[in-house]
Each structure stands twice: as structure tokens, then as C-alpha cells.
């Protein structure tokens, strides 16, 4: 379990990194946290000829929060985003999801953007980005483009990132007013990839009735599966919505597969259970949010829960 030979590039500026990526094309691979890439290389399942190590590009480590959302830089570690009080205030789903990502030592090293680019449908962050309708900013020599989540994840472990491109940041939109989120998952062991997991976003209207409810499912298809359950759960008051009907809608939409840890049937059943739990919890949080403030940014800033 030793990697085959490769060239290690350690650019000191973004421009230099983009030059190397342009020169190496499909033979180049970006190294950020390395939590997925290095094991793949050690098992010789991946053999990039060039590793472009971006760990010296300190400017990419920023987590910027604003009223409209959170922009996470390519070098921001999971732990850094998880601990950011500002990020949690603007979009609480980030912390809710990151706490479920693997183990602390992996979160200390692994990066949020790296997880998005790795595009594992069993991972939490792709589901979060998909649910929130966020985007990934891709830079290449001579330009950048923002790719919306719906177009970014193209298949299992496949994304819209092209040869020569570097994902420099990801943007997670802020929690809308009178909205709440939750993330529920079941894994075999603490910290494992989830057998099933559901991120939920519920928005209420002025009368605290469900205005919109969506769920994003992990391990439920080739890419994160986002299901709009607004119609299924009915425009009921938050406390009286039919979350079981929403769960049924989720079960009908997803396409889980058998693997060595669980059958597709069990995953389908479990995803429904977790969808009901997550939606109910998100609705509860939305009511709380509506009581606290009209705007997520302000509410979160006051919360200031120690980052």
C-alpha cells in the first residue's frame, strides 16, 4: 500500500497553481486535505502523475460569512467550518452536517470543498450544497465560473470540475427567514459513511404554516437526491404537517442500492424514517427561528455559540 511515483508541486500563489494545473491537465490532481485521495493512491486505485499541493495557498483558507450566505475557501478544514460561529449563525445546517463527517482527526485535516469535489453520494456536504442550492467556484488559468450544485454533481465520485480547474470555494446560501434545518443519519459505526441520511430544510410563511419543505438524501442514488415534499406534507401549520406523507414521497423518489452493509429495501425504509425525523426537527427549528428573529444572520450573530 504505497503510491506509485508522482511529481509533487507546491505552488505558492493561486496563479502558479493554475499554471501547473493547466500544464498537467488530466494528469494533475489537487491535494488539499488528502483524506480520500491519499488512501486511493496508497491502494493504487488512483495514480495521478502530478499532485498539485495547494496547502501553501493560505488565502484559500477563509470562511467568509455575509447576510446572503457562507463562502468556504478550498483550504478551510471541516473542523474550522464546524467551529465557525458566524457560519453556524448564517446557515446552521453546515455545523449540523459537519458534526456527522467522519471523526475529529479527519475533520481536522479534510476540507469541505475537497469533500464536494470528491462528490461521494454517501457524504454529507454534497447533500447540504444540493439542498441549499449552493454553488462551487471553479478557477482556471484565465477565468472562473460558478457551477450550481444541481449541475456540479454529475455521478458517483464525478463532478463538473474539468482538467486544469481548481475548486477555489463553495457558497452555501443563508437560512431564509422563518426557516429551519436538520440533518439526521444512521451509520453502522460512529463516524462511518451513513447507511442513509437526510438533510432537511423547512420554510414557514407568516402564519407559521409550511411554505416549502425539501429533503436531500445521501446514499440514495448516484448523486445527492433532493426531494421537494412541500405538496406531500400539505400547507399545514408546522406542528401538524404530515411528515409521514413526506417520508413516503421521499421513499418513492430515491434509488438506493444494495451493498455489503445494507439492502436497498432497508435503505429506502430508513431514509423515510430519517426524512420524517429531519423534517419534523427542521420545522421545529423554523418555528424557533421565526420566534427569535426575522433574519438568520442577525439571529445567529446574537447566538454566538463559541467558534
Amino acid at each position: 500500500m504505497k503510491p506509485p511515483p508522482f511529481d509533487h508541486h507546491a505552488p505558492r500563489t493561486l496563479a502558479e497553481a493554475l499554471d501547473v494545473l493547466a500544464a498537467t491537465g488530466e494528469h494533475g490532481k489537487v491535494l488539499a486535505g488528502g483524506q480520500s485521495l491519499i488512501p486511493l493512491m496508497n491502494m493504487r486505485l488512483a495514480a495521478p502523475a502530478h499532485l498539485v499541493d495547494i496547502n501553501r495557498l493560505g488565502g484559500l483558507a477563509a470562511v467568509e460569512t455575509g447576510p446572503d450566505g457562507v463562502r468556504v475557501g478550498a483550504l478551510a478544514r471541516h473542523a474550522q467550518v464546524e467551529r465557525s460561529a458566524g457560519a453556524a449563525a448564517v446557515q446552521p445546517l453546515l455545523r449540523q452536517a459537519l458534526r456527522l463527517v467522519a471523526h475529529p482527526v479527519i475533520r481536522n485535516r479534510g476540507t469541505a470543498v475537497g469533500s464536494l469535489v470528491h462528490a461521494d453520494p454517501a457524504a454529507e456536504l454534497p447533500a447540504v450544497l444540493a439542498l441549499l442550492g449552493g454553488s462551487v467556484r471553479l478557477a482556471r488559468r484565465g477565468g472562473t465560473r460558478d457551477v450550481p450544485a444541481g449541475e456540479f454533481f454529475t455521478g458517483p465520485l464525478e463532478s463538473a470540475l474539468g482538467p486544469g480547474e481548481l475548486a477555489v470555494s463553495a457558497f452555501f446560501p443563508a437560512l431564509p427567514p422563518r426557516a429551519g434545518t436538520a440533518f439526521e443519519e444512521v451509520s453502522r459505526r460512529h463516524g462511518d459513511y451513513a447507511l442513509a441520511g437526510v438533510a432537511a430544510l423547512v420554510r414557514l410563511d407568516g402564519g407559521l404554516r409550511v411554505a416549502a419543505a425539501t429533503a436531500a438524501c445521501v446514499s440514495a442514488g448516484p448523486v445527492p437526491v433532493v426531494v421537494d415534499v412541500t405538496a406531500a406534507c400539505g400547507a399545514a401549520p408546522a406542528g401538524a404537517a404530515d411528515w409521514e406523507a413526506a417520508a413516503r414521497a421521499v421513499r418513492e423518489r430515491i434509488e438506493p442500492e444494495d451493498d455489503i452493509h445494507a439492502s436497498a429495501d432497508y435503505r429506502r425504509h430508513l431514509t423515510g424514517v430519517l426524512a420524517a425525523r429531519a423534517l419534523r426537527e427542521a420545522a421545529r427549528a423554523a418555528v424557533e427561528h421565526a420566534d427569535g428573529s426575522a433574519g438568520g444572520y442577525a439571529a445567529g450573530s446574537r447566538a454566538g455559540d463559541g467558534g
Binding site: 504505497k2 511515483p5 459505526r189 463516524g191 462511518d192 445494507a262 432497508y266 435503505r267 425504509h269 430508513l270
Partner: protein, 800 residues
């Protein structure tokens, strides 16, 4: 510090070293050695047509490439079949490197030696082996059908078939007793594959000294003495020219008692051939596909019983999957067969097993070694009987227990050591009473009802076992007291973290009357002690512990004799306390053991002040006698050997309370209780630690671990991502109570403790899940997905 630390919860002396990164494991040694790597079969079953190494030769830093063709005659043969047995009629072992056939994914085909491991793996990747794939044989059913053969000359894939039968007191065979019983049941029980999975894999590091024509080998092994003998034989070296050392070993759990591994002979051979140090460190993927697994067994049970649940006849037919080869013989199914009766007096018992070949990794003992299967089988049977009769599960067990006055109890079987299986001592009814009290068995029904009212599902389970420990043939110990008053203890068996440095020192300090700090212990180093068997079968404390005690008693006797002369006293009046030999009741009349050590070794040359006291003009020995009396030896040292007539039998009972989630089918262990009896305790803290570790592995076997082979014989979960060993977060707190019924078989009255914890866990968890769910659990391990399937199959209310 007490000088009688036997029985005290002394802190482990090895921990400061091991816990602060100062352990020296195999890969910490030989930083300048060449690295070996292996090309291994990617096919479960194939003919090897051709091997083309041409491309690999261009790798910079390549030193050598070896295939079977390159091996000398002694190495080109199949590896030893370590434990032959008359019933193993078709035993087969692998060649160190495959010649023309591979029989499991991971079988070594080519050895590469290079400047470092990276380069060696680069070269491996460039070697092209042309295979002609053959059909794989995976799973017990496929193997037993015998349509596809793993070995062309083994018809039906059956390596061994063994039947043992014990008639009832009135002379009836099991079949007859079952037929005549008031109640009868018949069912099948299955256990899946798992593995020892030590965190440190195997590893070998060899140094050939051409000037001295001697070989030193470090191996991450559970038996350095036997590896040494195997190497001397295989490499044609005189035994005194071979040294084998087991350095710190990061876990064994059984897999490292297997030897010699292909790598274990090939690496030293290459070191000799190349005149260079060579090292191979197994990586995790290799460990999954190239070492050994265990546990896979199916059991067809027929049982007859009376209205009280007393077993009148039991007939068990076992199908055992031993993988592609049988280097360790058929020890695992033999142990299942013979340990199955557990703490019970069975009316009549018949057990038959067939051990079959599959194109998967070979099977050798893993902690518990066939007992988890045996206990799963017996204890599930007890639960089935209870369910059938509507009796409390502990009442059925109580009706069958062997009573304290029945010891020694002969089960009428032949155990794994080829000797009669006779229980030496135990108190099973007391053990059951203690367990019920510890877990609160009798009040659980009310607790379960309360939980059910709140929508929660709880269940309680129980499992009982008897474990033959401390099998022979022997172990030895050497004890030397040097003129600085230090006590040097060595024994040939090896350590994998059990705490031998602590417990053997406790035994020596107690026997000799010296402070614990003055005792040092060396294990697994053939330079210090050449005669040993190894560390397995919960035998180290029983075997080496008693051998060391016997060695100490010899040394003590000699010390008292010499001190008696110096003190002009009768040796019978002397005692040793705190390293001082003194006349009982006469303060001041004493001589330190250090001085006795000086006097024990008459010298001509003084090298320090102490030594000067033993020189020829110092008057240390009377001039009218030879300085070393006839029949005596110089020095204050002694050897002792302990060779028991048969095994000693430890026992225990476990209970657990689990909660199953009605919606997600997750299974959580809320409480886990253990009553354990391993005779006299040398160190209760270490025994508890062994139990905790065993339960942790048992939880893995019950709820998480399995080897998932597909129909092509590919192991689908050969990594720690997908082979789910439990983390600390998955292991429950273990509540423990000890019972001590000393063994009458050995001087210290002790029994083995190493494997105990793991043995009944699958039985206990199955029992508890069944209680929570009201659905029979006949296969282990069980995952949430499988519990979901069981619920659905049972047609019960399925929330969705």
C-alpha cells in the same frame, strides 16, 4: 511495595513504554534493510500459465525477483502441516510461492526485493502473471456440493470428517435418546467469517551474518521458538546458528500462532542469498487476503429434552469452512465439537463435522478458536428449549448445570490436546446466581414492560461457556539472581500486550520474596530461552506462570542453602523478605540475596567489590571442599518446566440488555455483565482488561464484522473502511464479577483468561435481540439491515 504481589492489581509495567510510543514493533526495526513485497493472485482460483518479470527489471533500486522456479528444494515444497490428525485425511498446505495453481485471492506468486517498499511495489506492478481462471468455490454449500474442486485430489472438497459420540448413562446413543425424549427440536445455526485482525500485521526482518554463518530473525509472531526450528529445518542451518526474536507485537489474537508463513521463510532465505538485511511488513490489504480468517461454520442441531428442559440427547452436525489450505489442521472444529457441551451435563451427545475446502483465505484459530461457534450453538439451543417449554431461560440452564460436587467431570470427549476432556473444577450454579444478581435478571421483565409502554424495545440475553485453557505440552522458565540483587526472568513464549512483564514478575517476586521492581522479564527471545511452545489457547499464565514459579522455587531453595551456611542456621528456619534472607524471628541475622548470588559463584577474578568477596582468597568457600560441590552449578539460577497432564477449564457467564429501535432497527447494548472464573487471579486488573478486550472483539463478531466474499471469491471489504471493527463508541461498559475456584492441576491454582471475553458474546446478543424482538435469531452477526429483513420475514408490524 509489597513483596507478595501475587493477586494484587499491580499497574502494568509495560504500559509507560507502550503508551508513550517507545514500543519497538517489527517495522520500527531494520531501517536500513531492503524491502520485500509480493505479487499476489488477483484470482480466487486459477492456473498460473506464465510469469513475465521483464518490465520490472528496469525499476531503479530493484535488487531481486523470485518465483517458485528460483526456490531451492527445501523451500519449493508445501509448507508444513503443523497439527496432523488422523481425521484430516486430505490435509493440504500451500507452497511458499505458487507454482502453477492459486487457490485464493492474495496467495503469493512472486517475491520482489528492492531498496525500499515503494520501489518494490512499483516493480510488483510491472510483473505480468498470465492466469487461466478456474471457477471459484465460495461458501459452505458450494464447497459441500463438491461439484467444483479446490484441490483436484480432494474429492468432494472434504479435508476432514470426525465424529465423536458419548452415550448417556444408560448406554443410549444420541439418536436413540432424542427419539425417546418427550420433546424434540431441530434447527440450523450459522456464524460468519471474521478474523483476528491485530492492528499490527505480520512482519519479518532477517539479518544474515556471513562471517558468523548465523541468522537472526525478528518476527511478529506468537511463537519464536517454533519459527526458529522451522527456519533451521527449512534453510538447512544448525539450530544454534539461528536466533528468532518476537519484538513488541501489536496484537496477535491467534493469527500469529500460525507459522511459518511463506514470508517468514522467504525473507530470511533472501537475506542469506543476498547477504543483506531484508524486511517485509505486511500491509492491511495483505493481512485481509493473505493471512487467516476464522469462525465460518454451520450447525445442524437435533435435541431431545424433558419437561424441565433437561437435555436427554443432542446431535450436532457441523460444516466447517477451512479455506484453501489446512496448515493448522482441524483444531477449530475439534474445539467447537468438544467445547459445545459447556457447563452442562448432557444425556447423550453426538457431534460430527466435515471440514471443507473453499477458494478463500485459510482458517486458523482466532481468539476463542471455535468456542464462540460452540457456545452460540449450545446457548441458542438452551433458549430454543426454554421458548418451546415456556420456561425462563436461566431455569433451563440451571436444570442442566454440572454441580460443584461432580468435579472432576469427564465429558467423555477427546480435547484439542489429544487428551480426555475432564473439567478440573468450577461452580456453575454459583456463577449463574452471581450473574442473575449482577444484571438484575429477575427484575428485568418489569423493566421491559415499562420501556414497552414508552415505545421502546428492550431484551435480555444470556450465554454460558466452559473454556479449556492452558493446553500443553509444556512451557519453561529461567530465573537468575545476579550479584546486584536483580532477578532476571525469561520464558520462551511470546507477548502481544497481555501484560506478561507484569504478571510473571508478580509471580517471581512473590515466590522469591523480592521487591517487584527488582524483577525483569523477557519473553519470546530464543537467545534467552530456547524451549517453548507459544502463546495461544489462554495458556501463558498457566504454563509459563507455573514454570516460572517452579524455577523460582529451585532458586529459592539454593539461596536458602547458601544463606544457611553463611548465617550458620538451618535452611528450614530461613525466610526471604524484601530481598533479604533472614532467620525467622531473629532480627539482624540476615544476608541479602545479592550476597547469596555472589557466594553462589566462586570466582578467581574480581571485577568489582562485590565480586571480590567471592574470590579464592576471600574465604568464601571452605578449603576442604571443591568450590562448586558435586551436583551443584555455579550461580544463583534455575530452570523450571511445567507440563500438565491435561488442560484446566475456566468458565464464565455473560448477560446483556439490548435496545432495538422499532423504526431504524439499530441495535444498542445498554448493559453488559460478566461473571468470570479463571481460578486464582494473578492480577485482577489485567484479567478484567482481558475480559473487556475480549467482549469488545465479541461485540465486533456479533454486530459488525464479517468477511464478505462475492461468488468469484473476491473479498469485497478488505479494508478498515468496510470491515467494521467496533470503535470505543460501539463497545459497552462491561460490569464484571469474579468467582475463584482454583485449579487443582497446577501449583498456582490458576486457569487461562485471555480468550474468555470473546467466547459467548454472539450467543448473548442473539439471545437479547431475540428477546427484544420476539423473532428467532439463528445467524450471527446481525446488522440493522438484517434485523429489518427478519422483521419483514416474520410479518410483524413494520413501521414505514
Amino acid at each position: 511495595m509489597t513483596t507478595r504481589p501475587f493477586g494484587e492489581a499491580v499497574q502494568r509495567r509495560e504500559d509507560p513504554r507502550l503508551l508513550t510510543g517507545r514500543g519497538r514493533y517489527l517495522d520500527d526495526l531494520g531501517s536500513g534493510a531492503l524491502a520485500a513485497a509480493f505479487v499476489r493472485s488477483p484470482h480466487a482460483h486459477a492456473v498460473v500459465r506464465d510469469i513475465d518479470v521483464a518490465d520490472a527489471l528496469d525499476v531503479d533500486g530493484l535488487v531481486a525477483v523470485y518465483t517458485w522456479e528460483d526456490l531451492p528444494e527445501r523451500l519449493a515444497r508445501p509448507l508444513p502441516l503443523l497439527i496432523p490428525h488422523p481425521a484430516l485425511t486430505h490435509g493440504r498446505t500451500a507452497l511458499p510461492l505458487a507454482r502453477d495453481r492459486v487457490r485464493h485471492v492474495g496467495e503469493p506468486v512472486v517475491m520482489v526485493v528492492a531498496r525500499d517498499r515503494y520501489l518494490a511495489e512499483d516493480a510488483c506492478a510491472l510483473i505480468r502473471v498470465d492466469y487461466d481462471p478456474l471457477p471459484a468455490v465460495v461458501g459452505l454449500e458450494e464447497a459441500a456440493r463438491g461439484e467444483r474442486l479446490v484441490h483436484d485430489d480432494v474429492p468432494g472438497n472434504v479435508g476432514a470428517h470426525l465424529v465423536q459420540s458419548v452415550p448417556s448413562a444408560d448406554g443410549r446413543e444420541a439418536g436413540e435418546a432424542i427419539a425417546a425424549a418427550p420433546h424434540r427440536l431441530e434447527f440450523r445455526l450459522d456464524i460468519e467469517r471474521s478474523a483476528s485482525m491485530p492492528l499490527e500485521g505480520r512482519g519479518v526482518y532477517a539479518r544474515w551474518d556471513a562471517d558468523d554463518a548465523s541468522l537472526r530473525v525478528y518476527s511478529s509472531t506468537q511463537t519464536s521458538t517454533s519459527v526458529r526450528m522451522a527456519l533451521a529445518a527449512t534453510l538447512g542451518l544448525p539450530l544454534p546458528k539461528v536466533e528468532v526474536i518476537a519484538p513488541d507485537v501489536g496484537g496477535g489474537f491467534g493469527v500469529k500462532i500460525m507459522h511459518p508463513w511463506p514470508e517468514e521463510v522467504l525473507v530470511p532465505w533472501a537475506a542469506m542469498l543476498l547477504g543483506r538485511e531484508v524486511k517485509w511488513t505486511e500491509d492491511r490489504r495483505e493481512h485481509f487476503t493473505s493471512s487467516a480468517h476464522e469462525r465460518a461454520q454451520a450447525h445442524s442441531v437435533r435435541v431431545g429434552f424433558d419437561d424441565d428442559g433437561r437435555v436427554l440427547g443432542l446431535d450436532v452436525t457441523i460444516l466447517h469452512d477451512h479455506g484453501a489450505y489446512t496448515p493448522y489442521g482441524i483444531i477449530v472444529p475439534i474445539i467447537t465439537s468438544t467445547q459445545l457441551p459447556g457447563p452442562y451435563r448432557l444425556g447423550a451427545y453426538r457431534v460430527a463435522f466435515s471440514s471443507v475446502y473453499t477458494t478463500t483465505v485459510q482458517v486458523t484459530p482466532y481468539r476463542g478458536a471455535g468456542r464462540p461457534q460452540a457456545v452460540f450453538c449450545m446457548e441458542r439451543t438452551m433458549d430454543r428449549i426454554a421458548a418451546h417449554l415456556g420456561l425462563d431461560r436461566t431455569a433451563v440452564r440451571a436444570a442442566n448445570l454440572i454441580q460443584p460436587e461432580e468435579f472432576p467431570y469427564d465429558q467423555g470427549l477427546t480435547f484439542q490436546d489429544g487428551r480426555p476432556l475432564v473439567y478440573d473444577s468450577g461452580d456453575y450454579p454459583e456463577s449463574l446466581r452471581l450473574l442473575k444478581e449482577l444484571i438484575g435478571w429477575d427484575s428485568f421483565a418489569a423493566e421491559k414492560e415499562r420501556a414497552a409502554a414508552g415505545g421502546r424495545r428492550l431484551g435480555i440475553g444470556i450465554g454460558c461457556y466452559v473454556e479449556g485453557t492452558g493446553v500443553g505440552p509444556y512451557e519453561g522458565g529461567h530465573v537468575q539472581i545476579t550479584s546486584d540483587g536483580r532477578v532476571h526472568v525469561s520464558t520462551g513464549l511470546t507477548s502481544q500486550g497481555q501484560g506478561h512483564e507484569t504478571v510473571f514478575a508478580q509471580i517471581a517476586a512473590t515466590e522469591l520474596g523480592v521487591p517487584l521492581e527488582r524483577v525483569s522479564v523477557v519473553t519470546g527471545d530464543t537467545r534467552r530461552f530456547g524451549y517453548a511452545v507459544g502463546t495461544f489457547a489462554s495458556r501463558a499464565a498457566v504454563m509459563s506462570g507455573n514454570a516460572i514459579a517452579l524455577a523460582c522455587r529451585k532458586v529459592r531453595e539454593k539461596a536458602l542453602r547458601i544463606a544457611a551456611e553463611a548465617l550458620e542456621a538451618d535452611p528450614r528456619d530461613l525466610e526471604i523478605t524484601d530481598g533479604l534472607v533472614h532467620v525467622a524471628g531473629v532480627p539482624g541475622a540476615s544476608v541479602p540475596l545479592a550476597t547469596v548470588a555472589v557466594l553462589a559463584n566462586p570466582l578467581r577474578y574480581a571485577f568489582d567489590d562485590e565480586a571480590a568477596r567471592a574470590t579464592q582468597f576471600a574465604g568464601a568457600s571452605p578449603p576442604d571442599r571443591p568450590p562448586v560441590a558435586e551436583g551443584e552449578e555455579p550461580g544463583l539460577e534455575g530452570r523450571g518446566y511445567y507440563s500438565p497432564i491435561r488442560s484446566t477449564f475456566a468458565s464464565g457467564m455473560h448477560a446483556a440488555i439490548v435496545e432495538t429501535d422499532p423504526l431504524t432497527a439499530e441495535i444498542r447494548i445498554l448493559r453488559y455483565a460478566v461473571v468470570h472464573d479463571c481460578g486464582n487471579l494473578v492480577n485482577p486488573m489485567i484479567v478484567e482488561g482481558q475480559i473487556h478486550g475480549g467482549v469488545a472483539q465479541g461485540v465486533g463478531g456479533a454486530l459488525y464484522e464479517r468477511m464478505v466474499y462475492d461468488g468469484h471469491g473476491q473479498l469485497l471489504n478488505a479494508s478498515f473502511m468496510d470491515f467494521l471493527m467496533p470503535y470505543a463508541t460501539e463497545v459497552p461498559h462491561v460490569e464484571t464479577a469474579h468467582l475463584q475456584t482454583p485449579s487443582p492441576l497446577n501449583p498456582l491454582g490458576i486457569k487461562g483468561a485471555g480468550e474468555a471475553g470473546v467466547i459467548p458474546v454472539s450467543a448473548v446478543i442473539a439471545s437479547a435481540v431475540e428477546d427484544a424482538e420476539g423473532i428467532p435469531v439463528m445467524k450471527m452477526p446481525i446488522s440493522p439491515s438484517e434485523l429489518f429483513d427478519l422483521r419483514r420475514a416474520a410479518g410483524g408490524p413494520q413501521a414505514s
